[in-house]
Amino acid sequence: MMEDLEKLIHLPQRGEYMEIRLEKIFSTTIRVQNGMVEKIRVGTDEGGYVRLLTPRGSWWFESFQRWEGLREKVERAINGASLLPSSGIEVVRRAPVRSEEKVALTDDFRFKSLEDKTSLLLEYNRILKEISPLLVSSLVEYRDEFRQIYLANSDGSLIYWEKPDIGLNFIATARRGDNIEMYRDGVAGKVGFELVKNRENLAQEVGQKAVLLLEAPSFPGGVYDVVLDPVLAGVFIHEAFGHLSESDTLYRNEELKKIMTKGKRVASPVLNVFDDGNLDNLRGSSPYDDEGIPTGRTYLIRDGYLSGRLHSRETACLMQEEVTGNARTIGYRFPPIVRMTNTAIEGGETTREDLFSDIERGLYAVEYIGGNTALELFTFSAAYGYLIEKGKIKEMVKDVVLSGNLFQTLDKIDAVANDFRWTEVGGCGKGGQMGLPTPTGSPHVRLREVLVGGSHND
């Protein structure tokens, strides 16, 4: 395969930049609900794309499924692209890379039988279901995926890598009359089958939380001091600052560039935020990004000052900054765009307990349902929370959605604890590309005066 790609990559002769990606995906999904094997989906998927930047600087992208006839596809791209209008786009060029990275999994899920996978799920489902008669639905979902990716580009790079991904999710729905509560949690990783074994405790916890939510009161809306747990703080930084650090949101917006000038103070001095696609075994990691650029660490915020942003070849070239290895695609049907990899708030000095001590009446928000952003606005939902009164954690509350404005909220983080950890579950959507693995990391953090949605208890 590599030899074929090497020949093709030199076909464009007029200064074009070209990438060819070929990809094969083997996947299994199993869903067990209320003791029934509701769904088993096994599949193989193969395809690829040719992406070409014309000498006049506009992009041509063609995705396909058959690997044969690649030469014709490349020739079609060269010819078709010559009809596109001029856009003046340029990309960073790099020295060629040759690399082949194979993955060795401890307990390779490709060699597990469907029977092993299904019976494990049935057992988890039994445990979950037995937690309480109030659970109307107990659902266990398993998925594994193994990708083989070939990438060749005009730098002369030829890269092969493998990307395993595995996940297990528990979803419990508890019901009493019209009161219905759903709780979900799970594990995910770039690892083998060992990740999903011995998760009986998690199954139990999910069932118990769903039942507890039935009893919990809704948190009254208003403005509060809030402590975010590491999971939610990670989602917060991803939504509140990560997306705005993706240079394709600002590279052609002169006003936004002024707002996002490097060296500008954007947050309180306790805040340090980075993105790192080269950490061992996290789901957002890979040796190279999908444009063949080595991944690495980029500090977005250092001591409260804006210190960097995330780039593709195109945005780095236009903004005349270093390329950072953040061009990612969810698969062969889509071109790589600027994305986060593993994004985190660095741990601080404060102990977790100290974050709560001076809060008179506030909210401790825990775990997440989701998050969303629209430039300066962002919102994220906690799975549940606890009332904080006089520095103490009190009763459990639900329906916790936090919202804010980037320009005001980052400055409100006034304390960062020393209990950093990564969260691997969850994916990010942008530009129609959904479910990209983007782990987040953080310790507990405290925010002052945050807007929380909900009804006033009047």
């Binding site: 639905s137 219905i180 989701g370 919102t379 919202s403």
Partner: protein, 434 residues
């Protein structure tokens, strides 16, 4: 792939092969300049079988595969599947339907798309020269087919056309972005309406208005009212009903919502999603009520959930891709419109909000109907006049309660994603936090 159907027949294994073929092309503009062209061709197969013990198996692939190998893989899966209570349907040979294919879209040239993009760009920039405009124009054709173990075949093709436009204005401390889209099965998209919508949204947004927390009447625009429909569609989903996860369980035939509110599923020829049969080969109805004057008439049933409930399927088994098994979904929906103009609804607001889009859709407890969202684009109205755009405001409430609190529905309506025809809804009260 007919060989697979023949093999199923020969082996007496009930099953169906779903095929999905898509050709699409797209152009993009970013920050007022042409960015690139994208083209895609894809095709995939999903083979579903019921083995002699009555257990369900499934295998998906998108490359040439020996029929025997595909069948063996699906049968291997079926050994671990659960027994199902439905059978693979036959397709009566008397069915007749039309494809909805617009040749103008099949033969659309890049040049045609570029002319359209340039026109939209120049129109909006004519009014707002400083705005940064992004445009996505896509067009293509899709074809779905089903082949069963009787060697019967169903095939349906449609074209699609979509234009999405966003306009951005940025200044220190305030980033404004407005969005509008039109999608349809043929070339006849109202470009003028799209351009006017963007310009009107920019006009209303130039001033930022302040308001206090409290309970207000809210006019949800067609795109804004999605916040209420996400929960309702979850509740009407047959599988959620079967598993007791829906609050609408046991509520069929009961009046739960405002008598002004009727929701129907209807086959509107060029609407995206509308189709003669669902992805399981069950014929869709030309028109049927899900909610009629506030009363729950029916729900969304695929073969699997209908069989569990012991009722007939409603033609609502849809697959998100060839790789997925069918689940309850819908073809094309519309909410019955009212009598008065949208401007009257707004003009009669003493004090309230217009909500056009929210951030955080589906991120609250959709099972209970609770929502709490940031207003992404919304306007404060006082004395019947739009005072300006609201910022950093949250709305919250319960979608089911809000649907029972509908006070008025407009006669103006608009297709969302070319699939759901929605009017403006006046709901009172809605909790607003700032």
């Amino acid at each position: 792939m007919i060989e697979i159907a023949s093999l199923l027949k020969k082996e007496r294994i009930p099953g169906d092969l779903f095929t999905h073929r898509v050709f699409s092309q797209e152009i993009n503009y970013e920050a007022n300049s042409f960015q690139g062209y994208e083209k895609e061709e894809r095709e995939g197969y999903g083979l579903r079988v019921i083995n002699p013990e009555g257990k369900l198996g499934f295998y998906a692939f998108n490359h040439a595969l020996d029929p025997r190998e595909a069948l063996n893989k699906a049968l291997e899966v079926s050994n671990l599947g659960d027994k199902v209570d439905f059978s693979i349907p036959s397709y009566p040979s008397t069915w007749e339907w039309e494809d909805f294919v617009d040749p103008r879209l099949e033969n659309l040239e890049v040049q045609d798309m570029l002319e359209l993009g340039d026109y939209i760009l120049s129109r909006i920039r004519g009014e707002y020269p400083q705005a940064l405009i992004n445009i996505v124009i896509s067009a293509g054709r899709e074809e779905k087919s089903l082949l069963n173990h009787h060697e019967e075949e169903l095939r349906f093709a449609r074209t699609f056309f979509g234009i999405g436009v966003s306009a951005n204005q940025t200044k220190e401390g305030d980033i404004l972005e407005v969005y509008a889209e039109r999608s349809w099965g043929n070339r006849d998209i109202d470009i003028e309406g799209l351009v006017q919508e963007i310009i009107a949204k920019l006009d209303f947004s130039q001033r930022v208005a302040d308001l206090n927390s409290g309970k207000y009447p809210v006019v949800f625009t067609p795109s804004g009212s999605l916040v209420l429909f996400i929960a309702l569609l979850y509740g009407l989903n047959g599988r959620n009903l079967v598993f007791g996860r829906s609050p609408l369980e046991g509520k069929e035939g009961k009046v739960l919502f405002s008598s002004l509110f009727s929701l129907e599923e209807a086959q509107e020829p060029w609407a995206l999603g509308s189709c003669p049969f669902d992805d399981e080969g069950i014929m869709t109805k030309t028109q049927r009520y899900l909610i009629n004057e506030g009363k729950i008439e029916s729900a969304l049933w695929d073969l699997w959930s209908a069989a569990k409930r012991g009722i007939n399927p409603t033609g609502n088994g849809f697959r998100s891709s060839y790789r997925d098994l069918p689940e309850p979904g819908f073809s094309s929906l519309r909410v019955k419109k009212g009598l008065r103009g949208k401007s009257t609804l707004v003009g009669e607001l003493e004090e309230g909000l217009v909500v056009d889009s929210v951030l955080g859709l589906g991120q609250s407890n959709i099972a209970s109907g609770y929502f709490s969202c940031n207003v992404q684009l919304g306007f404060y109205v006082k004395g019947g006049e739009v005072q300006g755009r609201v910022k950093d405001v949250m709305i919250s409430g319960n979608a089911y309660q809000a649907l029972s609190n509908i006070k008025e529905i407009s006669r103006d309506n608009c297709w969302i994603g070319g699939r759901i025809l929605l009017p403006y809804l006046l709901v009172e009260p809605i909790e607003v936090n700032i």
